[in-house]
Symmetry: C2
Subunit: 391 residues, 2 copies
């Protein structure tokens, strides 16, 4: 299948590209390199040394089953995106090409505006490009479980049947996101649902949980194929950050009480889920939503699991509760459904059974690259300052 | 009270400014004049001759109780908005300063992007300005009943209690809007709810129905104080357009079967609702939603009411069902609640009891200004073309 991956230089985009190329698909990747630029702004870098996209693609030519084509540009630039669609004629579009992340979007007014404009305009361009050049193609869009927030009822997969005053309707599940970044994904979901409804486009919105790990079948083929691992307060997701903290004998920083419950998944399951969505496309006019995670944990439970793993390595991990920079409930009900990808055949890699040893090993081998200044949150979300240059 | 009106040169912004100034408030208006610019792009013009904002404000100085201060600039320009907030120190902000309209946003990719970026960025700037310079102020934001779509259950005012698997939560009412413009208002609503929640701002989201009429107490004070009346296929709302069609003996163009039910209100009720919201502000941290309309009609019922009014004038109106350019249900359940503004004391001007004669009179007196080329829809929303210059 001809597959176009937007954001193909990113943490998940690059491993997805290799995975799909090795499954025999014709894969093209697009990236603007914004994420690499922001490493410079934030003063962060991937813990794992990563190669440029050009070097990655060249190395992949030697070890992969099928080559990966790369195109450099910004999907917010319509002329560029038009040329990409005309050149690649995609049957499936995997859209990772958005600005992360929640903490980045909360740094200042400028960051909030940049995040929302980039994500909304990029996605509007993609749906217009589909309508114009590839109306039969299938959009596989990366959303986030963070769109839902933490409601006091079970979280369904995108839709809920509501009975009210003796009448019923099946409606989009109400969203209550917790950052301007998460809000941008809610905006996208509404825009995409609309064009499926009025133009008959087909789309799958993958509301993904927090991904952990860096090892996939393909990243193991050569060190030049490694994907990034972020551990800092802006880009690092919680489990990856805990592992880095454990590896350098730094306390694992749990935000607040640590009762915040979220959905999590192994990076290999991300690749499997995206592949399953592509191979089982949404119908014409269908806006389909999958909740893409495999297990729920509180962030304190996760810290304890990482600490257990670290102790098995002979390390001496500590857990520290730090002041929560975010504004979120630290104790709440959370029960999110996630059966649709399992129904399509997903075989989860569960955290209890896999990984932590390997991830801890990888992390310790790069511990000389850790900047310990980046391990504590530097920005409180309640401040809402206009601009705060990072020093 | 110090009141800042964003979009104060518009159809509703200008009459609102005069109304509040005559109630003794200190009113400042901001406008970028985008709406006047687009008249040139679309080839449309207000049926009623309107003066420049500068002329309006000067005339108002002579006849109004308190002067209105004007500032020209774009709220998407942060430096400008910052200067406005510092200068006016508002206690209430009435936010009409967004791009209309549904048909405009559906003209092409460019129009969709311009509409969403303008509205989302302008509103993000406003909430950051409130947080920074006026954290106790109250945002009165103009949304639209079109955010809800036409669900098969009663439409509540912003929130709905959902019972699900034995648990309950009060959640934002799910939105299913019908154009990129309506979607932009949904995006705004989500962004504003978030900052009330995390920053403790106060906001009232007025989900307004379709407004009709041009006569208010203040517009009657002098012809130079008239507000605009749009009747064309892009800017004209349905009842205003029907009246213009009746006045020039053109068939009243009903889109499709005409069973589309919507909420409507008299322009005088808009002013009263905005004033009631200002005088009874949302609490700190509260995101409050009012459904702002007074009556529901199908668009066919409205055509028949206008035709009746026209016959009373001795005219000979005709009704024509034309192909619907929009993609919407033409027969559906519709029952939207609208009690909160009545509870605050709103005294509605109902369509059956008022107005049509006066509006028809006004319209006929300007019938030499009607461009009949603009009376039929020129753009099908199913097309989704990239760009289509208007000739």
């Amino acid at each position: 299948m001809r597959i176009l991956i937007l954001g193909g230089d990113g943490y998940l985009g690059w491993p997805t590209a290799m995975h799909l190329a090795n499954k025999g698909h014709d894969v093209s990747v697009v990236d603007s390199f914004h994420r690499r630029l922001w490493d410079d702004e934030i003063g962060s870098q991937s813990l794992t040394p990563i190669k440029s996209l050009r070097e990655r693609v060249r190395r992949w030519d030697e070890v992969g089953k099928k080559p990966i084509e790369m195109m450099v540009g910004d999907i917010c630039d319509w002329d560029f995106l038009e040329s990409v669609f005309k050149k690649t004629d995609p049957e499936a579009i995997v859209h990772y090409g958005e600005h992360r992340a929640a903490p980045f979007s909360m740094l200042s007014r400028r960051h909030a505006v940049v995040t929302q404009v980039n994500n909304v305009v990029g996605t509007l361009n993609v749906i217009y490009a589909m309508k114009e050049f590839a109306p039969e193609s299938h959009l596989v869009k990366l959303g986030t479980m963070g769109e839902y927030g933490t409601p006091n009822i079970d979280i369904e997969e995108g839709y809920i049947e509501i009975s009210h005053h003796g009448r019923k309707d099946i409606m989009q599940f109400p969203k209550k996101p917790g950052s301007f970044y998460h809000l941008s994904k809610v905006h996208d979901s509404h825009n995409i649902e609309f064009v499926c409804r009025i133009w008959g486009l087909r789309a799958t919105d993958l509301n993904q949980g927090v991904v952990y790990g860096v090892h996939t079948e393909e990243t193991e083929l050569h060190p030049d194929l490694a994907t990034r691992l972020d551990y800092d307060d802006v880009w690092g997701t919680v489990l990856n950050r805990y592992c880095v903290q454990a590896a350098i004998d730094h306390p694992l920083t749990v935000y607040g009480k640590g009762g915040q419950t979220r959905g999590f998944l192994d990076i290999r399951d991300t690749l499997a889920c995206v592949e399953l969505a592509i191979l089982n496309p949404a119908a014409t006019g269908e806006f389909r939503v999958f909740n893409q995670f495999t297990e729920q944990f509180t962030v304190l439970e996760l810290a304890e699991m990482v600490a257990d793993g670290a102790r098995k390595m002979g390390w001496e991990p500590m857990i520290e509760n730090v002041s929560n920079p975010r504004i979120e409930l630290e104790e709440h009900y959370y029960n999110a459904k996630h059966t649709k990808l399992l129904d399509l055949g997903l075989q989860p890699h569960l955290l209890s059974e896999t990984l932590i040893d390997g991830l801890l090993d990888t992390v310790r081998s790069h511990s000389d690259r850790v900047d310990t200044d980046l391990l504590y949150p530097s920005h409180s979300w309640s401040e809402g300052q206009l601009e705060k240059p990072r020093s």
